[in-house]
């Protein structure tokens, strides 16, 4: 089974990378960009008997490792 995990910064957490990119885009002439936030994706290949099980398992991975829940949110997308 393939899944994609999205990890993004919580609202209100400062994003130095996003901010720097915003500035860089601006100086490249892309002045129509109002905001940039950077996040991560993890493409996982895993063995699971059901979508439900996979989702639960991945949520555990997120809680335990993939996301720092102090500052980050995550979401899961099963692909096939």
């Amino acid at each position: 089974m393939n899944a994609r995990v999205f990890v993004t910064l919580k609202n209100g957490v400062l994003d130095p990378q996003g901010k720097a990119i915003e500035g860089a885009l601006d100086s490249l002439g892309f002045d129509n960009v109002d905001a940039v936030r950077q996040g991560k994706i993890f493409d996982l290949k895993l063995q699971a008997t059901s979508a439900d099980e996979a989702e639960k398992e991945i949520a555990k991975m997120c809680e335990k490792l993939l996301a720092n829940t102090v500052i980050e949110n995550y979401s899961i997308e099963l692909r096939d």
Binding site: G23, A24, S27, L28
Partner: protein, 735 residues
């Protein structure tokens, strides 16, 4: 008969592998048949310029490579030099020019990874790194992106691996627009009697693969590094390798731990042309055959062909011959460090290089000939053109303005922006970080006083004007930088970056430079113990400036006597060692202020270099000095300005105010300061030794005054010096 894996060996395919007719004839002769596709790949990897040194070998042989302290010279992964107390310093420099142009971050990072691997493969723990970088004109559209990526890549790898970067060079010139240079140096510390070599010993012993898995990275990479760029460069991109400093750090610790156990008989890192070069070298150097079983090679991609596995340049991999009795010990160490390993072959007694894949023999070739009998060319050379004569220097140059330009333009400005992205302090032994004449690190395991000094230098514009003098000058400047901090120069490494050797004038430039390097190394007792050649640095027919970078290592008995270049105390007396400035040909002043590139390179008087260097070292050793700095780009005025900026103290110097005195780039010179009480004895010593010395003035105040030509507040000079780089890079995204 080797089945040909369904790939027909056509004329085009041979040419694509960079093998010419003559070389192909030799292949047919060596094999007694047509090569298989895999064999063709192996030949191309072994016989390309990068691995075989076919154009340069003849000339490299002329270099002095031996000396009292030299334990291993060129031919091993790195040079090894005795530093007393049973310790040795292991060092080398290597280029990663082409990959860095294509992908600056990963190119530079894997360059650093490669040179570190060369050093720890020999059993040495890396203790210092340097990087010599050359970029195109600041105004060139790619320059900022390349600077930013390369510097980040050098730091990204070295910082994570954990080696302090203690020096380097950064230069900008339009001649590097299409070919930047990324030369990385690394030095390590080892026990002199525990140096590990690549020559295999013993028949029937297992060959172990250790490190990262093999992917398709860089397939054809070594071939690319030996070809000129054209506009089709974009198509060459998929060969980019990605570095993994974490794995390399684990590899370092695992190798050092393993070496302690006595399990390692031979070891070789997989660099250019990975498995091929390393396996062949192990066998050829040890007078043994090698059999490889590719089905056992850890791979990270599916369906890799024998050809791809043999040519893959995946990073962070090693090959070793292990003592079979210690296999369990080895296994425990590899597992501790979570590294992939496998037995992938064995040594044989028939001097053949056999590769088996999927049950079939895909290569069977004579191993000695592959390694040792690579082609060697005496490429044609033509007379080297003299540089344009030095015209009249315009009168009325504003010396204040000229000095601000020279310390504040792309080539004179502080490199702080660069080195602050490097961990210069890790390991806790850095007693002089970048910003001085040489980086200095304390040596562990000795008496706590011993230290090593490092510098890398070359002045490409001198080499272009006069390759022989330029070659001498590169060595002399490196040697001088080591002397300036008080270190005894021990030995050196070179990284010879040139254009297309098939052009007779480039070949002559190359040959003359090497002869100059040899002259200087002999005269200064500074043997070359390792090195690297990078040719074909040309894009669309435009070659780089000849850039034979010299990396040097010096030894200091007591780091607490080390000199730095900053002015220390009000009232200290400033002295010039060496003659008054006179030479303006090819000077920074001429190029950057007058806007002309003319004249001959400054002449290097090697006797005077040796004499003046020994004199300065003696003064430092007897603790008579308070500061010392060698004179190079921009001459006396620039040296004084640097001493002022760093010490935050001005000076009053009664020099004559002609531009030659202020900005001449005559060689073999130092600027030193000393307490006034010591001046007489310093002068007396100079007289005894026949050293030219003159008193220039005194340290003090907040202004640098030189004759009636220069009077500048230190704050103003510093602002010019420190602002160029950050200002330039701040516009990174704006282009």
């Amino acid at each position: 008969m080797i089945p040909n894996q369904d790939v027909e060996i056509t004329k085009d395919l041979i040419a694509e592998h960079g093998i010419n007719d003559e070389e192909y004839a030799k292949i047919l002769e060596l094999l007694g048949r047509e090569p298989s596709y895999t064999e063709l790949g192996i030949f191309s990897a072994m016989w390309n310029e990068h691995c075989s040194y076919k154009s340069s070998k003849l000339w490299l042989k002329t270099l002095p490579t031996t000396g009292e302290r030299v334990i291993h010279g060129p031919g091993e992964n790195a040079g090894v030099v005795d530093i007393g107390d049973g310790q040795a310093v292991v060092f080398k420099m290597e280029s990663h020019n082409h990959p860095s142009y294509i992908e600056p971050y990963q190119g530079a990072a894997t360059g650093v990874g490669g040179i570190l691997r060369d050093v720890f493969t020999m059993g040495a723990r890396p203790i210092a790194a340097m990087n010599a970088l050359r970029f195109g004109a600041p105004s060139h559209e790619k320059t900022r992106h390349l600077v930013s990526g390369v510097v980040e890549g050098v730091g990204g790898y070295g910082n994570s691996f954990g080696v302090p970067t203690v020096g380097g060079e950064v230069e900008f010139d339009p001649r590097y627009n299409g070919n930047i240079l990324v030369n990385a140096f690394a030095a390590g510390l080892a026990d002199a009697d525990k140096i590990f070599l690549c020559a295999a010993k013993g028949v029937g012993l297992p060959i172990v693969y250790l490190g990262a898995k093999t992917g398709r990275d860089g397939v054809g990479g070594a071939t690319m590094a030996s070809a000129e760029f054209g506009d089709d460069i974009e198509e060459k991109r998929p060969t980019v390798q990605v570095g993994d400093p974490f794995t390399e750090k684990c590899l370092l610790e695992a190798c050092l731990e393993l070496m302690q156990t006595g399990a390692v008989i031979a070891i070789q890192d997989m660099g250019a042309a990975g498995l091929t070069c390393s396996a062949v070298e192990m066998g050829a150097q040890g007078n043994l055959g090698v059999e490889l079983y590719l089905d056992d090679v850890p791979t990270r991609e599916e369906n890799m062909s024998a050809y791809e596995m043999m040519l893959s340049e995946s990073q962070e991999r090693m090959l070793m011959v292990l003592d079979p009795d210690k296999e369990d010990v080895a296994k425990a160490i590899f597992e501790k460090w979570e590294l992939d390993f496998a037995i992938v072959g064995k040594t044989t007694d028939d001097l053949r290089f056999r590769v088996i894949h999927g049950g079939t023999e895909v290569a069977n070739m004579p191993i000695k000939e592959l390694g040792d009998e690579a082609p060697e060319y005496d490429r044609p050379r033509s007379e080297y053109p003299a540089p344009p004569a030095l015209g009249d220097i315009p009168s009325g140059i504003d010396a204040n303005q000229a000095l601000l330009t020279l310390v504040g333009n792309e080539n004179g400005a502080s490199r702080r922006w660069v080195w602050e992205q490097y961990d210069t302090l890790i390991q806790g032994n850095s007693v002089q970080i970048p910003g001085g004449d040489a980086g200095v690190v304390r040596v562990e395991g000795a008496d706590g006083k011993k230290a090593l000094a490092f510098s890398v230098d070359v002045t490409p514009r001198y080499c272009e004007a006069n390759p022989r003098e330029g070659g001498k000058q590169a060595v002399a400047e490196c040697w001088r930088n080591l002397s300036a901090v008080g270190a005894l120069p021990l030995a050196s490494t070179d990284n010879l970056n040139f254009g297309n050797p098939e052009k007779p004038e480039i070949m002559e430039q190359f040959a003359q430079s090497i002869l100059g390097i040899g002259d200087a190394c002999r005269a200064l007792d500074f043997p070359i113990v390792s090195g690297n050649v990078s040719l074909y640095n040309e894009t669309n027919g435009i070659g780089i400036l000849p850039t034979p970078a010299i990396g040097g290592v010096g030894l200091m008995a007591d780091w607490s006597k080390m000199m730095t270049l900053d002015f220390k105390n009000e009232g200290d007396v400033i002295l010039l060692i060496g003659k008054n400035g006179s030479h303006l040909g090819q000077s920074a002043l001429l190029r950057d202020v007058v806007g002309r590139i003319e004249g001959d390179a400054p002449e290097v008087d090697l006797d005077e270099e040796a004499k003046n260097g020994a004199f300065v070292r003696g003064l430092i050793d007897d603790e008579l000095l308070t500061a010392s700095h060698d004179l190079s780009d921009g001459g006396l005025a620039v040296a004084l300005a640097e001493m002022s900026i760093k010490g935050n103290l001005g000076a009053t110097v009664e020099a004559t105010s002609d531009v030659e005195t202020l900005f001449g780039e005559d060689q073999a010179r130092y600027c030193i300061t000393a307490n006034s009480a010591n001046i007489d004895s310093i002068k007396a010593r100079a007289k005894d030794l026949g050293v030219t010395i003159s008193e220039l003035g005194t340290v003090g105040g907040d202004t640098l005054k030189i004759g009636d030509a220069i009077s500048l507040k230190i704050d103003e000079i510093r602002a010019a010096h420190e602002s160029w780089f950050p200002d330039f890079m701040a516009q990174e995204a704006a282009e």
